[in-house]
Amino acid sequence: MTGVDLSVDVGGVRLKNPVLAASGTFGYGLELAPLVDPALLGGFVTKGLTLAARAGNAPRRIAEAPGGMINRIGLQNVGLEVFLQEKLPELARLDTAVIVNVSGDTAPDYAALAGRLDAVGAPIAGIELNVSCPNVARGGREFGTDPEVLFELVAAARSRTRLPLWVKLSPAVTDIVELAAAAESAGADAIVAVNTAPAAFVEPVWEGSRLSARILRGGLSGQGLKPIALRAVADLRRTVRLPIVGVGGIGSVSDVFEFLAIGASAVQIGTASFADPQLLGRLPGELAAALAERGCASLAEALGRDRVGGRER
């Protein structure tokens, strides 16, 4: 294409470009192959994985929201064993970095998952600890709201793996910076900001002249989340030294630049792919073209070596 080097190292995960598919929006990598060639992506993050299979929440699970959507999938997934046996071999065929997103009911669950994935190694490029799912009773936000709890959890996972460890945070906390700092001191390699924001979709229901409601509580994603995600990344960049992966409402190359401009080293894209399944495949090329137009030979030139990794790091 343009010959611009888009590669970036995010806390030990080497990406050919900074555009990743967000967890829960790209399946296990092959479902969307007819629409987007996974090899074009910098990487993708698999659907939240737990030790045992989970059925997920009872429907209704999604609703459209102004500028995005609300979901309460509730971590439906095949569980670790089926993942390793059935999904991983498929993932191995993809020419892109695979990051495995994990959740647990308890801190030891996270550590156990980290240990098992560490033993597997390739094709797993890294682990993303989801401590920010708003849609499960256990194993979600509870681990990502108290700095001490988060420290213990990350430290436990850290002790079980040498794979790069990313920690994905919720925007719905009083102080995200404090949490990132806890993850950093516990040995995380990167911060992913943000997961969905707790939100609700409401349908008024009339029983005669009495008003009540059907309420779908879930996580807000998509365009409406972008200003909140940008704020989180901007605030994190002021104090945290780890690389940051920006997520939330990205839907165009100019959105990607906004996140890169405020300190993200890479970005993830979820909801926008649903409306525009070819977006992910297009973005790296658009990014390269925009950089070439600015006279940049590499992403490193635009962001600085420290942000994309590499020798001077």
């Binding site: 829960g24 929006t25 790209f26 399946g27 479902e31 969307l32 007819p34 629409l35 659907k47 059925a55 997920g56 009872a58 429907p59 209704r60 699970r61 999604i62 609703a63 459209e64 929201a65 500028g67 995005g68 959507m69 979901n71 999938i73 439906q76 095949v78 089926v82 059935e86 998509g222 365009q223 909801t271 792919s273 649903f274 409306a275 525009d276 399944p277 070819q278």
Partner: protein, 268 residues
């Protein structure tokens, strides 16, 4: 999810694609009911009855799913009811409007076996995928379609044009037989269940559940086409699930495992 193949033995759906199609025109077929005629050669040539297309509507965050109502040559038609934000905007589309669609998506109704006698049971807008089936396999089909009132019966125009013997019911009795589709279906099954090899149904969920129950009672195979709110439409978000009767697979995805599934698999 690993059950997709056994669920749909007769054929694997073709890979969906994106198509930048163009609106040819729209025709009103009833109050708040319209047919959008779209030039979409790729999708039209591949679509199977029961499959759907996922339409992008201006800046709306999510696409909207619609069954294929008719496909011939380059021409694809969808029959839609004006319901909310998206369908209201669609009514404003004029000939020449770009139509960004992903499709064909999902698994359709199994094609008829030689000599198979299929009854199509449709409620309201649910007639859409059945009309496509009837038009493709007219010699195998008879239909029972129900509407609220006479003015809506135009929504089955493609079915009637296909020459499928069609019994109409309306809730208010203003056309055809008064009442719901389940009454004539029950009567036909009671009269001679062996005359019906398979029932294909699409419509409101209470209707589907009633049809499924009738089919089961009479031991007749039944496939239903489901509807659920969708985000991805391609099986990755797990948003569109319905509960199943299979403990090994608590939920199935309407978009990828369906929208057409064996009626017995659905926990109503």
């Amino acid at each position: 999810m690993s059950r997709r193949a056994p669920l749909h033995p007769p054929f694997e759906a073709e890979a969906p694609g994106m198509e930048h199609a163009v609106l040819l025109g729209q025709r009103a077929v009833g109050p708040d009911l319209a047919v959008a005629e779209i030039a979409a050669p790729r999708t039209a040539s591949r679509a199977q009855p029961g499959q759907f297309v996922h339409l992008r509507i201006e800046e709306l965050p999510l696409r909207r799913p619609f069954s294929v109502y008719h496909a011939a040559g380059e021409r694809l038609e969808i029959l839609y009811r004006v319901k909310g934000r998206g369908t209201t905007r669609m009514t404003r589309w004029v000939p020449g409007t770009d139509v960004d669609l992903v499709g064909p998506l999902g698994h359709g109704f199994a094609p008829p076996a030689p000599g198979e006698r299929v009854v199509l049971v449709g409620g309201g807008i649910g007639v859409a995928p059945l009309a496509f089936y009837g038009a493709r396999y007219p010699e195998h089909c008879a239909a029972i379609v129900g509407f609220g009132t006479a003015a809506e019966v135009g929504a089955s125009d493609r079915l009637l044009q296909a020459g499928v013997a069609t019994l109409v019911t309306t809730e208010d009795g203003s056309a055809g037989q008064a009442g719901l589709v389940t009454a004539p279906l029950a009567a036909q099954l009671a009269a001679d269940p062996a005359r019906i090899d398979r029932i294909l149904a699409c419509g409101p969920e209470p209707m589907l559940a009633a049809v499924a129950r009738l089919a089961e009672q009479h031991g007749v195979a039944c496939e239903v086409a489901l509807e659920r709110e969708m985000a991805c439409g391609t099986g990755v978000c797990l948003g569109c699930v319905v509960p199943t009767t299979d403990p090994g697979q608590p939920y199935l995805r309407v978009c990828a495992d369906g929208p057409v599934v064996p009626a017995g698999l659905v926990r109503w």
